[in-house]
């Protein structure tokens, strides 16, 4: 009897059913998407330029070829990037450094797009703490990872974390800033809903120290992705640091990695 009642309650409360449906979505004029990165790691660095497609189209994004792409720093160094594959532009000599400000300029089809980004100083990534969580209704013991670092006293630090479990990348977006706990040791775990970490997994976390506009960009993306009850936040194109009304971002950031085996 208890099982019947239990079954019933769950039918009612948690029996959301999902189904793929057809929706008539408008087509939009193709928009330019610029995705540029420079890091404190050794180059080459790439800038990818592509275009949007309609929702119903296949996931093939037309590259924007023959663009003039230059990357320069605040010391007067400038480099024109070579198109190494259609829509992929690569540096040859430039070496990213902490604290430098970089400018990306893209000229394509008679239009110029400019982005400026400062590479923040690195905050030392000290390690990973994996802890059991009792979230949800999974029967396995699951873990969450907390990146260990000490936020500097000056406010305005922004971070992005990317998890890899046995080499597989977590697709969700995790960004932190120091609005909370400025100047303190981090205690916030990375909460990723569909990325289960179990005992014995090898976990690699990449920590990026990012500029504020990049935090805003990825924070907005992460909010639009999360769909709470009733639809969640109204999604919007994330605000970015590129002039000229294009999609994408240009990020100068530091990269550090730590690895643990979950025990």
């Amino acid at each position: 009897m208890r099982n019947v009642a239990l079954f019933f309650i769950f039918m009612v409360l948690f029996s959301a059913c999902e189904q793929e449906i057809e929706i008539d979505l408008n087509s939009a004029d193709p928009q330019i998407v610029i995705e540029g990165e420079i890091t404190n790691q050794k180059g080459p660095y790439t800038v990818r330029i592509s275009k949007t497609v309609n929702f119903s189209a296949s996931n093939q994004y037309p590259p924007v070829t023959a663009a003039v792409v230059t990357l320069s720093d605040d010391l007067g160094f400038s480099e024109k990037l070579a198109e190494t594959a259609p829509g992929v532009y690569t540096t040859a000599n430039l070496q990213g450094q902490e604290g430098r400000t970089y400018t990306l300029k893209v000229e394509s089809a008679g239009k110029t797009y400019t982005a400026i980004c400062k590479m923040p100083n690195r905050v030392e990534f000290k390690g990973i703490k994996a802890e059991e969580i009792a979230f949800g209704f999974s029967t396995d013991t699951l873990y969450s990872a907390t990146p260990l670092f000490d936020d500097p006293i000056a406010s305005g630090n922004n971070y992005r974390f990317i998890q890899y479990r046995n080499g597989e990348r977590d697709k969700s977006i995790t960004v932190f800033n120091d609005n909370v706990n400025n100047g303190k040791a981090n205690e916030r775990p990375i909460l990723s809903q569909e990325f289960e970490i179990k005992r014995g997994d090898t976990l690699v976390i990449e920590m990026r120290c990012i500029d504020k506009p990049i935090y805003d960009y990825f924070f907005t993306l992460s909010q639009s992705a999360g769909q709470g009850p009733g639809g969640g936040t109204t999604p919007a194109n994330p605000p970015n640091n590129i002039t000229g009304n294009v999609l994408g971002y240009f990020s100068a950031h530091t990269i550090q990695r730590q690895t643990i085996v979950v025990r």
């Binding site: 592509s50 009733g230 919007a236 605000p239």
Partner: protein, 769 residues
């Protein structure tokens, strides 16, 4: 304060002297249910010799009629109750209480013919009074009869989502409804993420909703007033009533403390899904439940003085082990003093407390963080009702509320310094006067004025932002008075009787709103936070014009109405794109402001009496906003915008034992933002949006069925079984639509519809003794 007093005295003297011209006497008293002693709100007292002359009992069951000396035949009646007729010689002021008896079966009910067309002569527009007995017959989710869900079947009132107790009135947002429980504002009227409302219908006597054209004694919200009144408690006999359902159970006890002098009511409710959860090994340590408690007591000091004390306490808890927990709830308390100063002048003084808070905790190992928020009010309301003569009645008084608002703040366990929460304080004041004037048997006018003010009180620093960029700040020390916003709100409505069957009504009302709910989702979330006016957030203002045509058919068995409205709104608040609502140091930096407009047409056909009763309602509406910084500054559909809504409710009393009911709803989709394209960022498919709320959700429709079986009465013991089926034909209505990569085919993306409920059966056993 001195000024207010002087003003009141002048007002009072003016009205009393104007009314005293010839030899007149006043008959006054209360109208009550004979069996329970409950006051009958809105019961009518008519003078047979003077057609069209009479009075309605006010919200405390008090009435007062002043007539020239003479002998009159009075009739007292109320829907569903047997009429009482009595001849009274009026040669001095008389105090007469009426005790009406509830009709035992439908056939025996005699309803006063003269008042059946009350809907035509009343000046009130856009007003619906819910009959609690009727609510129990309308099918609802989980078989839990619910005021808020029944309201959503009326024209102009829309549900906020599947099974949700949140509602939108005439294009207003959910926070633009003033929800009062015994005069105390209820800041979050939903339980279990909206599947239940905070109103336990066992404890409720009366619920009235006014869609924007409220008289001057109400204020503080733009879209509507939902005035819910708790039962006072039976002052004749002890009663126990309750219900046992699959999800929740209820129990109420009421009775006299001293017969005919004082009484009490206690009513409680709890869900027990979690009891079953505990039975399973997998879910041990998790919790998911709510409970609430209504309690009320009243005491008649003498014929002229009565005191009421009522309270509500409700709490929801949701938790996964020790790691995650959220609990939220409302608390209200109301102390009221009814005082009859003289047969024509009724006074009510209320002292009201109300609070809503939530607390969300997440912990993992040694670390923990929490987000919480609270709003707390102390509220004093004084209202006088003056029944000066048969053509004029007045209401006037003041309302003063002290708000303490603690905004949402994200805190962690190793956080010990600067980011601790600072509460903000606001002081809201209003003065109001309203006159209901019967100019002729055909024309009646209700007009009034409300002066409302909101003062920012010191204790915090207020930053000033220009589109999210801080430009200045104002430091207010504790005890300092900050900026005061004041508005004059005129209200007017009039009714003109064209012929015995029909009338036209028109109205205008200005409303202002000083508290704003910040919500980034369409449904009611416990984590939505309230915020007061500041140097950035100005009072919201609305001006609503409405026009209606009312007609009764078939000897007043059918009521038909059509109402149209246009509303313009100022100082509307919305989050900017990319708003960070939990961790940003000052949420005001994440807000944008603009204007709104809403218009619509509401049709309503109702059959009130007979074996078969029910209604058909249709609403056409639009609601749009224009906010600089959103959607390129162009007008866009608000998230509650929905063009067509239809509901059909039928109740069939087959015989004294069995009654059946059905409710069908159909609506076109809400405005929603869908992608118009896609691109790739960082290896993930990302969606490209061209317009805010430029798309529509698919149409929604659903049929609910319910059957009630009244068992044979055994002495005092009455019981009934209620069987319900929600979503009878199993329509999979879209709750959300999400977009994602197809897991089976990486080259394409797909739209995924999530539907919440297919069929939800329910069984409830109700009893009373």
């Amino acid at each position: 304060m001195e000024k207010i007093k002087t003003l009141l005295v002048i007002l009072l003297l003016g009205m009393v002297t104007a009314a005293n011209a010839q030899q007149k006497f006043t008959i006054s008293g209360h109208v009550r249910d004979k069996a329970s002693g409950e006051e009958l709100i809105g019961a009518s007292i008519l003078v047979k010799e003077l057609p069209g002359t009479g009075a309605s009992a006010n919200e405390y069951g008090f009435y007062s009629i002043t007539l020239p000396a003479g002998t009159y035949t009075f009739s007292s009646s109320y829907v569903g109750y047997a009429e009482i007729i009595q001849t009274i010689k009026l040669d001095k002021n008389q105090s007469i209480d009426w005790k009406l008896e509830f009709g035992t079966t439908l056939d025996e009910v005699t309803v006063s013919a003269t008042k059946e067309d009350d809907n035509l002569s009343r000046t009130t527009m856009g007003t619906e009074k819910l009959d609690i007995k009727e609510i129990s017959k309308v099918p609802v989710l989980f078989g839990e009869k619910d005021v808020l869900k029944t309201l959503q079947l009326l024209p102009g009132i829309k549900s906020a989502g599947e099974g949700n107790s949140g509602f939108f009135v005439r294009g207003g947002a959910a926070d633009q409804n003033l929800i009062l429980l015994d005069e105390a504002p209820v800041y979050n009227a939903s339980h279990l993420l909206g599947f239940f409302s905070t109103f336990n219908s066992d404890a409720i006597k009366d619920a009235t909703i006014i869609k924007g054209n409220s008289p001057a004694q109400y204020g503080g919200r733009l879209a509507s007033v939902l005035d819910v009144k708790m039962k006072d408690g039976n002052d004749q006999n002890y009663n126990v009533s309750g219900g046992i359902g699959l999800i929740s159970s209820r129990l109420s006890v009421e009775g006299p403390i001293q017969k005919e002098k004082s009484s009490f009511l206690i009513s409680g409710r709890r869900t027990y899904a979690d009891v079953f959860l505990q039975a399973s090994e997998d879910f041990k340590g998790n919790s998911l439940y709510f409970y609430d408690l209504n309690a009320k007591a009243n005491y008649r000091l003498d014929d002229k003085n009565r005191i009421f004390l009522s309270g509500y306490f409700g709490r929801d808890k949701l938790g996964f082990g020790d790691n995650f927990g959220i609990d939220w709830g409302n608390q209200t308390a109301t102390l009221r003093w009814n005082h009859i100063l003289n047969p024509k002048l009724f006074s009510n003084t209320s002292f009201i407390y109300s609070k809503y808070n939530y607390d969300l905790k997440v912990s993992s190992g040694g670390s923990a963080f929490n987000i919480d928020s609270e709003i707390k009010d102390w509220n004093l309301k004084q209202e006088f009702q003056l029944f000066s003569n048969t053509r004029n009645s007045w209401r006037f008084g003041f309302n003063s509320i002290h708000h303490t608002i603690t905004p949402s703040r994200f805190e962690t366990s190793n956080n010990d310094d600067n980011t601790s929460q600072i509460s903000r304080y606001g002081w809201e004041n209003a003065l109001f006067v309203n006159n209901t004037y019967t100019a002729s048997p055909k024309l009646s006018i209700d007009y009034g004025l409300r002066l409302s003010a909101y003062t920012i009180l010191g204790g915090d620093t207020y930053n000033i932002y220009d589109r999210g960029i801080k430009t200045d700040s104002v430091v207010l020390a504790k005890g300092d008075f900050g900026k005061t916003y004041a508005y004059l709100e005129p209200r007017l409505s009039a009714s003109y009787r064209i012929n015995p069957q029909s009338s036209i009504k028109g109205g205008y009302a200005r409303n202002t709103q000083n508290l704003h709910l910040l919500s980034n989702s369409t449904s009611a979330n416990p984590t939505d936070q309230w915020i007061g006016n500041s140097y950035n957030i100005k009072p919201e203002v609305s001006d609503q014009f409405s026009l209606g045509y009312f007609r009764n058919f078939g000897n007043n068995k059918f009521e038909f109405s059509v109402e149209a409205y246009y509303k313009s709104m100022q100082n509307q608040v919305d989050y900017k794109d990319a708003a960070d609502i939990n961790t940003s140091p000052d949420v005001e930096s994440e807000l944008l402001y603009g204007i709104g407009r809403a218009y619509g047409l509401e049709l309503f056909l109702k059959k009130k009496v007979g074996k078969f009763s029910g209604w058909l309602s249709y609403t056409f509406s639009r609601t749009e906003r224009q906010i600089e910084g959103i959607n390129n500054g162009d007008w866009y559909a608000a998230k509650q915008d929905r063009t067509h809504d239809v509901s059909l409710v039928g109740i069939y009393q087959a015989n004294p034992r069995w009654s059946f009911s059905a409710a069908f709803v159909y609506n076109t989709g809400n405005a929603v933002t869908f992608p118009s394209g896609k691109y790739n960022v960082d290896g993930n498919t990302t969606y490209y949006y061209t317009e805010r709320n430029g798309y529509r959700m698919p149409a929604y429709h659903r049929l609910d069925l319910s059957a009630t079986y009244e068992r044979q009465r055994k002495g005092r013991f009455q019981s009934s079984w209620n069987f319900g089926l929600y979503n009878a034909y199993g329509r999979e209505n879209a709750y959300t639509i999400t977009f994602e990569d197809d897991p089976d085919d990486a080259s394409r993306t797909r739209a995924l519809r999530t539907a919440l409920f297919k069929w939800v059966p329910s069984v409830t056993y109700n009893f009373k003794f």
